[in-house]
C-alpha cells in the first residue's frame, strides 16, 4: 500500500516535468547561435560586452553577450529592471528568446551572479 502511494506521487511529478517542462535550458551564446532555438524560450548566460546603449525603461537596453571561454557573441535587447551590478564584463543571465538573430529578453528577468557570495542579486521575483 505504501509502495502504491509512493508510485502514484512519483508519477504525478514525473508527468509534470516531462510535459510541462519545469526546466528551462540555459545556453551560452555559442550554443544558441549554433542550435535551432529561434523563438524558443530559454535562458541565456554570458559576459556583458559593450557598448551598452539604449534605455531599459524606454525602447530597450542593447548590448552583446559573450561566451565565458569563447569568442561567440549574441546581440541582446532587454526591457525592465536592470541590476545595480550590471556593467561590461559582468556575468549575467536572462530569460527570453532568439528572434531574427537578436535575443529578446523577457522583462525583469535580468540577473547578475556573484559566484563567491551568498545569493544572486535579484531585481524582481520570477
Amino acid at each position: 500500500m505504501v509502495a502504491l502511494s509512493v508510485a502514484a506521487v512519483l508519477a504525478v511529478f514525473l508527468l509534470y516535468t516531462s510535459f510541462a517542462g519545469g526546466a528551462t535550458e540555459s545556453l551560452r551564446p555559442s550554443q544558441i547561435v549554433a542550435g535551432d532555438y529561434a523563438g524558443k524560450g530559454v535562458q541565456l548566460a554570458g559576459i556583458v560586452i559593450g557598448p551598452v546603449t539604449g534605455d531599459a525603461r524606454g525602447s530597450g537596453l542593447r548590448f552583446r553577450l559573450k561566451d565565458f571561454d569563447g569568442k561567440q557573441t549574441v546581440p541582446v535587447v532587454y526591457k525592465g529592471s536592470v541590476p545595480d551590478l550590471f556593467r561590461g564584463g559582468r556575468h549575467v543571465f536572462l530569460q527570453g528568446a532568439l528572434e531574427n538573430g537578436t535575443f529578446v529578453g523577457k522583462p525583469d528577468s535580468l540577473v547578475t551572479k556573484c559566484p563567491s557570495k551568498y545569493a544572486p542579486k535579484k531585481t524582481s521575483s520570477s
Partner: protein, 661 residues
C-alpha cells in the same frame, strides 16, 4: 600564526583518526577504556578545532592580511562585530565552523549519554569522528583557511549586504540545524551496528533532532527576512538552490519527527525511520555542499572547485554506508505490527510523511536536475519558481489538510462518523471564513481562497483541541481553567507544542498567500513633485539626496506617503555605493509597515536618472509580517515540545534499569 592554525587542524585530524580507529576497535572488542579514550579524542578534537577557529578569528580582528582568507573576506574598515560574519562567509571558514560545531555537539551528545554510548551504542563515537574526519581532511589538504600571501594594502571587504544583524545569526542557526542532524544519524547507525532495535536511540536523540529542526526552520525564515529587506526584490522566498538546500533536510526532519511518534506508539515504521534519519543527514551534507562549493552559481560545474568532487564522494560514502547498514539489519528491523485502519492517526502520519518526502524529493530534483543535465548533456538548464510553486501547492495543500485532521483523529482506529463530528466545527469555521473573505473581495483568486480557508481550518482544529483538552482536564479535577490548561500542556508537551507549531505553519500560509496572491505592484518613472498611486497609497516624489556616510555614499529618493488625504510620513529608498573594498552597490529598499491594515508598502528605487527623475517599483504586500510572526510562534511551539519532562525521564530510566536487572 597561520602555522598554529594549520598545526591545530593537523592535531584535530590525528585525534579524529584515532577516535575512528580506537572507537571502532573498542566497539568490536568491548573494551571500555579504549572506548572512553576514543570519546576523549573526539572532545579533544573539538578543542583543537576551536583553537584553529580562534587563530582565524584573531587574524580577522587584527586585520592580518597575510592570511589569504582574511584578505578575501574582510577589509580594514570592517566593524569588529562583523569579524564573525566574515569568518564564515567563505568556503574554508564555513567548513571550519561546521566541523567545530560538529565536534562540539558530538562531544556534548556523547558526554550527556555517557553510559548509553559506552555500554549500548559504542559505534556512535567512531561514526561521529568519521564525519568530522572528512571535513578535517578537506580543511587540511584541499581547502585550508590558513593559506598565506604577501599582505596586500587592504582586503577585498565583506559584501555589504552581509553586514547586518541577520547575517550574524542566520548562518549559525542554519549550521546548528544542519550539523545537529548528524547526531541522530550517528546514534541510529550505532544502534544498527549493535543490533539494537529498541527505541533508546530515538529517546536519546529526540531533543537533538527537535533542536536541529527548530534551528533549521527558524534559520530559513531568518534568511527569508534578510532576503526581503536586504536583497529587496519585493518577495521573501525565491526557490534559490541555496534556500532549497536548507528546506530539503527540514522537510525530511519534519517527516521523521512525525513517523517517530508512530514507532513509539505502535512499534511500526522502524525501517522507514532509519531511512529518514539517513536521508535527512545526507540532505544536510548535500545542502552544505550546495551552499559552500559554488557549484550552482557557476555555469561551469564541478571543475571549478576540487571541493565538489570531495563532497560528491562523501555523499556516495554516506549513501552506500547507510544502505548497507539498513539492508544488513533489515531482518531484525522489520516491524511485525500492521496498520489497523486507513482512518487513524498512524495513517494520517503516514500520508503526511509521503507528501513531505515527495515534496523534498521534487525540490531535490529541481536543484539537482540542472547539474545533472549539464554533466550529462552538456547543456545547462535552470528550474524556475513555477516548477516549485506547482508542487508546493500539489503537495502542500494536502499537507495543510492533514495538519488540521491529524490532531482530530484518534490513534489506532477512528470511525468516519466520529471523525466527521470532530471535523465539523473547524470545517464550519473555515467555510464561514471563506464567506467573509469573499465578501471582503478576496474572491479574485481561487488559490488564495483555498489557502486562507485551509489555514483557517487548521487554526480552528488547533483551538478545538486545546479547548477539548482543557475541558477534559478540568473534569478530571483541576481547580481552575488556567490550572487545567497548564497541566494539559505540561503533561503532553509534545502533542500541544506540536499543535502550536501547526498553528504557526497555518499562519505562515496566510502570510505567504497574502503577499503571493493579493499583492499589487506598480512601476513608474517620477519627476520631482509627481505622484503615483498603488493599492490606495499615494506617493509623491520629493527629490533625491546623496549623503556620504562612513564607508559609503547613500543615494536616496525621498517620498511623501499619504492615504487619501491623510499624510503618513516620508519613506526613502535608493542605493548605497561602497567606496572601498568591494566597491559594491547595494539595493536599499524603503518599507513602511502598516499594522492596522496588515500590509507593507515596499518601495524599490530602480534607477536614478541624470535629469533628477527616478524609476520606482512599488509593491503593496498584504500580511507579509505574519510570516515573521509565525516564525516566533514556531519557536515557541518547538520549545514547548522540547521542554524536559522529569516524569518521563524517570519512567524511562526505570524501564532500562528494570531490563538490566
Amino acid at each position: 600564526m597561520p602555522g598554529l592554525g594549520r598545526a591545530a587542524l593537523v592535531l584535530a585530524l590525528g585525534l579524529v583518526l584515532y577516535a575512528v580507529l580506537a572507537g571502532g576497535y573498542a566497539s568490536l572488542s568491548g573494551r571500555r577504556r579504549l572506548g572512553d579514550s576514543a570519546r576523549n579524542a573526539l572532545v579533544a578534537a573539538f578543542v583543537a578545532c576551536l583553537a584553529a577557529g580562534g587563530v582565524l578569528l584573531a587574524a580577522f580582528l587584527t586585520d592580518d592580511l597575510s592570511f589569504a582568507y582574511v584578505a578575501e573576506h574582510s577589509s580594514r574598515d570592517l566593524p569588529a562585530r562583523y569579524a564573525f560574519t566574515a569568518l564564515w562567509s567563505g568556503q574554508e571558514g564555513s567548513l571550519l565552523f561546521w566541523v567545530t560545531i560538529l565536534t562540539g555537539m558530538g562531544s556534548v551528545a556523547v558526554l550527556l549519554n555517557r553510559r548509553l554510548v559506552a555500554e549500548v551504542l559504542p559505534w556512535t563515537v567512531p561514526i561521529l569522528a568519521a564525519v568530522a574526519g572528512y571535513f578535517v581532511i578537506v580543511l587540511v589538504f584541499v581547502s585550508s583557511p590558513f593559506e598565506t600571501q604577501a599582505a596586500p594594502i587592504d582586503g577585498a571587504g565583506l559584501n555589504p549586504s552581509l553586514q547586518n544583524p541577520y547575517m550574524m545569526i542566520h548562518p549559525p542557526m542554519l549550521y546548528l540545524g544542519y550539523v545537529g542532524l548528524t547526531i541522530p544519524f550517528a546514534f541510529a547507525m550505532a544502534a544498527l551496528a549493535s543490533k539494537r532495535t529498541d527505541e533508546r536511540w530515538i529517546f536519546a536523540t529526540r531533543r537533538w533532532t527537535l533542536a536541529s529542526w527548530m534551528f533549521l526552520g527558524f534559520g530559513i525564515l531568518l534568511g527569508s527576512k534578510w532576503a526581503y529587506e536586504e536583497v529587496g526584490w519585493g518577495g521573501w522566498y525565491a526557490w534559490d538552490p541555496v534556500e532549497n538546500a536548507a528546506l530539503m533536510p527540514w522537510l525530511v526532519a519534519t517527516a521523521f519527527l512525525h513517523s517517530v511518534m508512530v514507532q513509539e506508539k505502535k512499534n511500526m515504521l522502524r525501517v522507514w525511520n532509519v531511512v529518514l534519519v539517513a536521508l535527512a543527514f545526507g540532505l544536510s551534507i548535500f545542502g552544505t555542499f550546495l551552499t559552500r562549493s559554488g557549484v550552482i552559481n557557476s555555469i561551469h560545474s564541478f571543475s571549478q572547485s576540487p571541493i565538489g568532487a570531495w563532497f560528491l564522494g562523501f555523499l556516495c560514502v554516506i549513501a552506500v554506508f547507510s544502505i548497507a547498514m539498513i539492508m544488513w539489519r533489515l531482518p531484525i528491523l522489520r516491524s511485525r505490527t500492521k496498520m489497523e485502519s486507513l482512518v487513524s492517526r498512524e495513517a494520517a502520519f503516514l500520508y503526511n510523511n509521503l507528501f513531505l518526502v515527495a515534496f523534498a524529493l521534487t525540490v531535490l530534483w529541481g536543484v539537482a536536475y540542472p547539474m545533472v543535465s549539464e554533466a550529462v548533456r552538456g547543456v545547462a538548464s535552470t528550474v524556475g519558481a513555477p516548477y516549485y510553486n506547482f508542487f508546493g501547492v500539489v503537495f502542500g495543500l494536502p499537507l495543510v489538510v492533514l495538519m488540521g485532521i491529524g490532531p482530530l483523529v484518534a490513534w489506532r482506529r477512528a470511525s468516519l462518523r466520529q471523525l466527521g463530528a470532530s471535523v465539523a466545527w473547524p470545517a464550519g469555521v473555515a467555510v464561514v471564513t471563506g464567506g467573509v473573505l469573499l465578501a471582503a473581495g478576496a474572491g479574485s483568486s481561487l488559490l488564495g481562497m483555498v489557502g486562507y480557508t485551509f489555514a483557517a481550518f487548521v487554526i480552528a482544529a488547533v483551538v478545538l483541541e486545546f479547548v477539548r483538552g482543557t475541558r477534559a482536564r478540568k473534569s478530571l479535577g483541576e481547580a481552575t481553567w488556567v490550572g487545567a490548561f497548564t497541566s494539559l500542556v505540561g503533561r503532553n508537551r509534545r502533542r500541544y507544542g506540536g499543535y502550536i507549531v501547526h498553528a504557526s505553519i497555518a499562519l505562515l500560509l496566510v502570510g505567504a498567500v497574502g503577499i503571493g496572491v493579493y499583492g499589487t505592484t506598480s512601476i513608474r518613472k517620477l519627476e520631482p513633485g509627481q505622484t503615483m498611486e498603488v493599492g490606495g497609497y499615494t506617493l509623491r516624489y520629493l527629490g533625491s539626496t546623496q549623503d556620504r556616510v562612513a564607508n559609503r555614499t547613500e543615494l536616496r529618493a525621498r517620498l511623501a506617503v499619504s492615504r487619501g488625504d491623510k499624510p503618513l510620513g516620508t519613506l526613502a529608498a535608493g542605493k548605497n555605493r561602497y567606496l572601498e573594498g568591494s566597491r559594491e552597490v547595494s539595493n536599499e529598499v524603503g518599507i513602511r509597515t502598516d499594522w492596522l491594515r496588515a500590509q507593507d508598502l515596499f518601495v524599490i528605487a530602480d534607477r536614478f536618472n541624470a535629469d533628477g527623475s527616478v524609476w520606482l517599483k512599488v509593491l503593496v504586500n498584504p500580511l507579509v509580517n505574519l510570516i515573521w510572526i509565525s516564525g516566533l510562534i514556531f519557536l515557541l511551539g518547538a520549545l514547548v515540545t522540547m521542554w524536559p519532562d522529569a516524569r518521563e525521564q524517570r519512567r524511562l530510566a526505570k524501564r532500562f534499569a528494570l531490563a538490566r536487572a
